[in-house]
């Protein structure tokens, strides 16, 4: 697919090229939500897969593209989840006068805002953590991010109890975001999420990651991974690019957390214990299993691992033992991950005569 000599392409073609995948992808994502009946097992599995794809692909921006090593992804996810629930719960109360789930235009507008807010809060935290710590060498960064994740978890535990609607009058609006339900989790009824929302986000994440890698920015990311000193030598501001990758990854993790926090029927999904370091490890496992830097690899690993844990559910006590053994075996037998740095279509193309 080597492009012929760079020729100027027409505006229409450029627009089609850039917008068509978005339109088609969004259509598919939204369509999926219409096809799969709500409340079913299949829907829940697909939802878990979607969240894991976003997590894995976004972490891949840091761990795969720039070769840095972040172990605090769950922390950003937690921030996104809590920030977005604050918007739909306390913001929803200000808007509707109650804390129920409003599945109408206004409610969806609120939910959309909450997703963006969740992402932005996480991104802001990513900037604050990333700016000083990305100057550190690889493994120290890992420890700093791990520490950050644990700090978030501990701090969330000491927040105040959720303000019930009838108590709202007694708590000032600016104090409300401190009322996050302590270790019980933020119990709420706002199950705004659906597969359409989830997969719209999945598609946007995938496209964004792919576009990014093919851009100047993305090339800079890869150069940092391949050889930081050489990259520095040719004038790439490596710290800036590392921070950019980190902030972007945090944003998507925040969105994933926001979606996760509003999932159907599970009003305590936002719970400090839910976002402990094991959650970060799960995301790292997906990235490495998929092949560092491969977008479709990370996505496919997310699908595989989600299904695998589900299939192993029936073996009860032996579930985690077999999961662990499989993980070790895959790493030994296929150390470069499923795809290495290649993508799904690189394999498919070879088949053509």
């Amino acid at each position: 697919m080597i492009p012929a000599a760079a020729q100027p392409i027409s505006v229409t073609r450029a627009l089609t090229r850039s917008l068509l995948p978005v339109a088609v992808g969004l259509g598919l994502g939204l369509g999926l939500g219409q096809v799969v009946p709500t409340g079913t097992y299949a829907e829940k599995i697909l939802f878990d897969i979607g969240i894991n794809i976003i997590l894995a692909v976004s972490l891949n921006l840091v761990n795969g593209f720039t070769g840095q090593f972040s172990m605090g992804h769950a922390g950003f996810m937690a921030l996104g989840a809590y920030a977005s629930i604050v918007v739909t719960y306390y913001g929803g109360f200000a808007l509707f006068g109650d804390v129920g789930c409003h599945l109408n235009a206004q409610g969806y507008g609120l939910y959309f805002t909450s997703l963006v807010v969740g992402g932005l809060v996480a991104a802001a935290a990513g900037y604050l953590v990333g700016l000083p710590s990305l100057r550190l060498r690889g493994d120290y960064l890992a420890i700093v991010t791990l520490g950050f994740g644990e700090i978030i978890r501990v701090v969330l535990q000491v927040s105040y109890a959720v303000v019930e609607p009838e108590e709202m009058a007694t708590v000032d609006w600016w104090e409300r975001p401190l009322h996050l339900g302590k270790s019980l989790g933020f119990v709420h009824q706002g199950a705004y999420n659906s597969l359409s929302w989830t997969y719209a986000a999945v598609v946007l994440t995938l496209l964004c990651a792919y576009r990014l890698r093919e851009s100047t920015h993305g090339r800079a990311f890869l150069s940092v991974r391949e050889n930081e000193i050489a990259a520095e030598a040719v004038g790439i501001d490596t710290t800036r690019y590392k921070v950019n990758a980190f902030v972007l990854a945090a944003f998507f993790a925040g969105v994933a957390g926001a979606l996760f926090g509003h999932q159907l029927g599970t009003g305590t999904a936002a719970r400090p214990e839910e976002f402990n370091f094991m959650k970060s490890f799960e995301a790292i496992i997906m990235v490495v299993l998929g092949g560092m830097g491969s977008i479709s690899g990370a996505a496919l690993a997310a699908v595989t691992l989600t299904l695998l844990t589900e299939l192993l559910r029936s073996v009860q006590d032996y579930r985690m033992v077999s999961y662990a053994l499989l993980l070790i075996l895959v790493m030994i037998l296929r150390p470069e991950g499923l795809f290495g740095t290649r993508e799904l279509w690189h394999f498919l193309r070879r088949r053509r005569p």
Partner: protein, 301 residues
């Protein structure tokens, strides 16, 4: 003042256990540059092996001889476990990227935790009282005899390790391998054997820490309890603060974490204690990225 002294003594006793555990992390990191997440599970196994032996042979009466032999037995069993882990899980990945080894380590950790739960059960266990228990009280400061013994044992093991690393031939080989694998190999050092040996030593120390935790607290959590991993993480943090790869650094880091826990918990906040400790870690790393006693790494082009 009594409070201060109490925190200080407790900090030393807790810290020496962290230090013992941190040594395993720092040695493996020094040689292979990866975080051995399975280390905290070897630590857990140390406690459980000795518990299993003690209950099998009905060793419930306090006796220093029994305690010592259990300690040695657990160290031997864990050394074997460490050897096997390295041989089966890490050696095939010697040339793979470090992240893969890390994932394998997480896999080994999950495997040990969950199979430990199958073998040893899901209940926390009461650890037999292997040493007679006395509490000394000096001016309001309380010291338990077992804590003193734990600190002394830990110190003795650390001195032994220090001698091993800096005064013996195999220690010199370990240091050589940690500086450069390839060159060490070219100099005729059996790199694989040295790496195995490192795992054996680290695992034996972890086992000792496990037995000491059992003796000090008289109770051990079930194998998959998150407290084992948390303990390990803090020990790793200790190793990083001390300067990873440095043996005296791990000891210093362990003590610092132990003291920090006590003083932060005692004077600032018990609620936010762990958050503050991790925040301190971040500050230390930002100010001195190579840790307190770490060598400054020079990137080679």
């Amino acid at each position: 003042m009594t409070e201060f002294l109490q925190f200080l003594l407790k900090g030393i006793s807790v810290g020496s256990l962290y230090a013992l555990l941190a040594l395993g992390y720092t040695m493996v990191y020094g040689i292979l540059q990866f975080i051995n997440f399975a280390h905290s599970d070897v630590f857990m196994l140390g406690a459980f092996f000795s518990w299993r032996l003690a209950t099998w042979f009905k060793l419930i009466d306090p006796s220093p001889l029994v305690a010592t032999s259990l300690l040695l037995a657990a160290m031997a069993l864990c050394a074997l476990t460490g050897f096997l882990i390295e041989l089966l899980a890490y050696r095939p990945l010697r040339r793979a990227p470090r992240l893969n080894v890390l994932i394998t380590a997480i896999g080994v950790s999950l495997f040990l935790e969950n199979s430990g739960q199958l073998v040893f059960g899901k209940d926390p266990r009461s650890y037999p009282q292997l040493l007679a228990e006395h509490t000394f009280s000096v001016g309001g400061v309380n010291v338990r005899s077992v804590e003193v013994i734990a600190v002394v044992t830990a110190l003795a093991l650390m001195v032994a390790l220090h001698t091993l690393v800096y005064r013996t031939k195999i220690g010199r080989a370990m240091r050589a391998v940690s500086i450069d694998h390839k060159v060490a190999g070219l100099m005729g050092i059996p790199v694989s054997r040295v790496i195995s040996f490192t795992f054996v030593v680290g695992s034996a120390l972890a086992a000792a820490a496990g037995v000491l935790v059992g003796i000090t607290y008289g109770q051990i959590k079930q194998p998959a309890d998150s407290s084992w991993v948390l303990y390990g993480l803090k020990a790793f943090v200790a190793a990083v603060i001390g300067g990873i790869g440095s043996v005296p650094g791990a000891m210093l880091g362990g003590l610092l974490i132990g003291l920090c826990e006590q003083f932060v918990g005692g004077y600032i906040s018990t609620q936010l204690r762990d958050a503050i400790i991790f925040a301190l870690l971040i500050v230390v790393l930002l100010v001195k990225p190579s840790g307190l006693l770490g060598r400054r790494a020079i990137e080679k082009i």
